[in-house]
Amino acid sequence: MPAVAIARPKRYDAVVLGAGHNGLIAACYMARAGLSVLIVERNSYIGGAAVSRQLYDDFTYSNCSYVCSLLRPEIMRTLELPRHGLQIIPYEGGCTMMRNGDHLALYDNHDALRREISRHSPRDAEAYDRFARDMLRQCRFIKPLLMRTPPDPTSFKPRDIMELLYLGQRFHRMGETRMYDTLRFWTMSCADFLDEYFESDIVKAHLAGSSIIGTALGPRSPGTAYVLLHHYMGDIDDAVGAWGFARGGMGAVTRALASSLRASGGEIRTDAGAERVITSGGRATGVALADGTEVRAGIVVSGLDVKRTFLGLVDKHDLPGEFHRQVENFKIRGSSGKLNIALDALPSFPAIPEGAPCIRGDLHITDTIEMMERAYDDWKARKWSQAPYVDMLIPSQIDPTMAPDGKHYMSVFVQYCPYELASGPWNDTKRQAFGETVIEAIARHSPDFRKLILHAEIRTPWDIENEVGLTEGNIFQGELTMDQLLFNRPVPGYAQYKSPVPGLYMCGSSTHPGGGVMGAPGANAAREILRDLRLGGLR
């Protein structure tokens, strides 16, 4: 081999921007198909929003995403993630503590669940079975669509028409009543949807939580019934709707993916933020990094959200005007905050009976839909919620690797928290005040909580944007609203993972089917890429 060739930088078949879970998954599939793949990651660590970080003492924080269930089992199997160290530990349902000192817990055991709901409303205990069955039916309808590329309804290509027919047929097979249920379900508000089943405030409030997590919508906004479903679509060992912890924190997911990638010959470069997508003759041919180096590649695959990708890295002149405008109009709103708390011991919650397993599940303190809706009203006025909805978990009870002996790590997801405050930009004082609002809300249900706090990391959408890179800190890389789902995600006409720039693909949660640590966008993007390169399907 001539000496000059050695000095020439390696040209990759594909370069992937961002080592989040979707970037990793897309890279894994491409590497397995024999492509040479490099991931460039801006941070000094990989994982994007699926990370485990040691920010205080020997505590491990899942400091962005915090639970695992949506990760598609087929991805887990194909990429052999268990062999690469991923272990998911399921937990039982959680509970909502009520302002009157009572609580509602959800149990896996059907009889226990019925007894528990009956305490609040015997009628709702009956309705719950109907509710669970209907949710399951919707899940079954939608699940196969997650791992498929959405059709373009404006296209006359055989592939798009066949896909539309496939959807139509699946829909039609449900039968008349279910078809109407589905139509209504997809468009209703969560509050209206739950009203059709339940009468008790606490049951509705507990179930409605999933409908607002990560969205800039309230439980009364049409479309939130779908968001509810989005959080139900996970399964662990075929238990639909089950949730679990990744042993070692959410970073374990991306660590396993990275290990799987390396095993297939892929490379990862950290501290290598992409500055610009290089194009030549209108085609993406590589990326320029912040340190001035350039990476040449056959194709570029962006795991970043669409705004960051196309408004930040691509020259405006390389994009059609309409596309650029639609990316600008893409709704990606910061609405969630996060507290990661190191605790000296397990806090007590008087509302939860001694020994009840729900303490190991998700804990909430919002006991009416109205309280949730009012929390949303604060967000609309660009304030953080004065009585926020929180999703609290203490994974160290199940996974001892998360905290030193006897001590505990608590993850507190907070809805709502705006990206921009009416009073101006975020600063330290406001961040502390936001954290204080959340801690005070929790302390009302736990007398010893405050004094057990050893350290608290407070993260606003602004912080999440700056650290993780998600625009406005939106955890889904774009609102999960009707106008941004399926063939509209991220923008109409570009829902098939390709961008208007030849050779530039999208694989992040901005694409179908959206966010959560699900991995479907990454896998779908890889499938489209391999198809374009005539390398066959995913394997």
Partner: protein, 518 residues
């Protein structure tokens, strides 16, 4: 049996009357029964103070399609206009009023004026393509009938025929909220709010509620193909529309009886076979068609014993709580809005300064409270039609949002305070208004329920929302004007395509009845 009625319409609202007119014209023997002492339902003119008349519920005519006006010959049966092609003026507290359609040289920037006309052209194009859906019976899913498949294909074609770019845009905006859409296109807060106001009028939604672009498209689609008078005020108020429809129906041979309250639909062999009046008489009829809202139709007139539980549950969950109140004022002098030429009183006036104002107004209604700063649509009918008030005096009609049907404190305790809030709000735009008030009247949704017999007091008979539109309106199983009980039909605003004085549901229902009877 030759004297037996072939069709009995319960309720003489505009839809009941148009249904009766079309059936009578097709040669059917039709009887219309109306509980009130006059026809018209919510399209009615009545005296609210000595010498002062008002359109008591609906106060503008802008959705009645040309086809119905022409087919029934309403013009030759007495329908005349006091004001036509009314403009919309968005009032400003400091007098920077915005007139729509937007023109250069006004308060708006040149770029907003250009965006406005481009936006309206595109939205009207969408509306034109959606319009045919309003004038036909919605398809029924899974029926296997060729006509339902054909209707679905027609819908697909209506959207596809927009061309790729517009089709994509329609599919994108369809599920959006009007807040984002308006912010995408316009700079001026007033212009954004004016667009949003039209999307929100009569709904249970705020500008940020997804589905409000749909309601905007719906409004534009109903206005597409409307009579040339456009946004108009009939001579004699909205009651004149009902009177014209009644005249047409009678001329075609329909019999209309007022002051007759139907107690129940008479069922024989599981089929609707007549009506039972409150006095115990039974009138037999071939088809029984209810102009009442779905709840009243199924629970009041029919009775749940004839329906299966799933259907009953659906009707029970049909959302039909009104959020809009009416305020009527009798004035000793014309209201003086800041910077508004007296001719401006003949237009449609809005108080809706910004999107956030509208959203805040909506927030209150979610928790069973009225808006402290309400959004208001004002017309001064006497400015165009002096017969509505004594000489020199005036009447004002205002639709006020939001006022929830069930106020959490009970309307009887807060109605006075609410009326004061409304007057104060208008006064801020029209100083001196309060001194000129001779009489005032407030109709909360609860009052509208009582006066017009609409359960929930919602003039659309049911919220306009995705899950209550088109082939699921009012509920699956009754969305084709037919109901689970043979020979019992719906023809009111609770059926497709919904409310607003347009008489389309009545016409569609009549055509469906005729098809089934054929």
């Amino acid at each position: 049996m030759s004297d037996r009625y072939q069709a009995i319409v319960i309720g003489a609202g505009h839809n009941g009357l148009s249904c009766a007119a079309y059936l009578a014209r097709a040669g059917k023997r039709v009887l219309v029964l109306e509980a009130a002492s006059r026809v018209g339902g919510a399209a009615v003119t009545r005296e609210f103070a000595p010498g002062f008349s008002i359109s008591a519920c609906a106060h503008l005519l802008h959705q009645m399609p040309r086809t119905i006006v022409n087919e029934l010959g309403l013009a030759s049966h007495g329908l005349k206009f006091a004001a036509e092609r009314m403009a919309t003026i968005l009032l400003s507290e400091n007098g920077d009023n915005v007139r729509l359609p937007a023109q250069a040289g006004g308060v708006l920037s040149a770029s907003d004026v250009a965006s406005y006309s481009a936006f309206m052209v595109r939205m009207r194009r969408f509306a034109a393509h959606l319009r045919p859906m309003l004038d036909a019976t919605p398809p029924r899913l899974g029926s296997g009938a060729w006509e339902d498949s054909a209707a679905l294909l027609r819908l697909a074609w209506c959207i596809r025929s927009l061309g790729r770019t517009d089709m994509r845009e329609l599919l994108r905006i369809f599920g959006m909220n009007v807040y984002d859409l308006a912010a995408e296109h316009f700079e001026a807060p007033a212009l954004r709010a004016a667009i949003a106001f039209d999307a929100l009028l009569g709904t249970n939604a705020g500008p940020r509620t997804p589905g409000t672009v749909l309601t905007l498209l719906y409004r534009l689609a109903t206005e597409h193909g409307a009579a040339p008078a456009g946004m108009s005020q009939p001579v004699g108020g909205l009651g004149a529309v009902s009177d014209a429809l009644a005249t047409v129906a009678r001329a075609a041979g329909a019999e209309i009886r007022t002051g007759v309250r139907v107690a129940r639909v008479h069922i024989r062999n599981d089929r609707a076979a007549g009506v039972l009046l409150e006095d115990g008489t039974i009138i037999e009829g071939g088809h029984i068609i209810s102009n009442a809202d779905p709840r009243t139709s199924f629970f009041g007139l029919l009775g749940t014993e004839y329906l299966d539980t799933g259907f009953v549950r659906r009707v029970d969950h049909f959302r039909q709580s009104g959020q809009a109140a009416k305020v009527h004022l009798a004035l000793s002098s014309p209201p003086m809005f800041r910077n508004l030429h007296p001719d401006g009183l003949r237009e449609r006036l809005l108080i809706a300064p910004s999107l956030d104002y509208l959203e805040n107004a909506y927030n209150a209604s979610k928790y069973g409270e009225y808006s402290d700063a309400p959004a208001i649509e004002i017309v001064v009918p006497s400015a165009s039609d002096s017969a509505l008030a004594p000489p020199g005096l005036h009447v004002v009609s205002a639709i006020v949002q939001y006022a929830p049907y069930a106020h959490k404190a009970g309307w009887h305790t807060v109605r006075g305070a609410f009326l004061e809030r409304v007057i104060d709000t208008i006064e801020a735009y029209a100083p001196g208004l309060r001194q000129s008030i001779l009489h005032s009247e407030l109709l909360t949704p609860a009052d509208i329920e009582t006066e017009f017999g609409i359960s929930g007091g919602q003039w659309h008979h049911g919220d306009l929302a995705f899950d209550q539109f088109f082939m699921v309106r009012p509920v699956p199983g009754a969305a084709q004007y037919e109901t689970p009980v043979a020979n019992f039909f719906l023809c009111g605003a609770g059926a497709h395509p919904g409310g607003g004085v347009m008489a389309v549901a009545g016409r569609n229902a009549a055509l469906q009845v005729l098809k089934k009877a054929a």
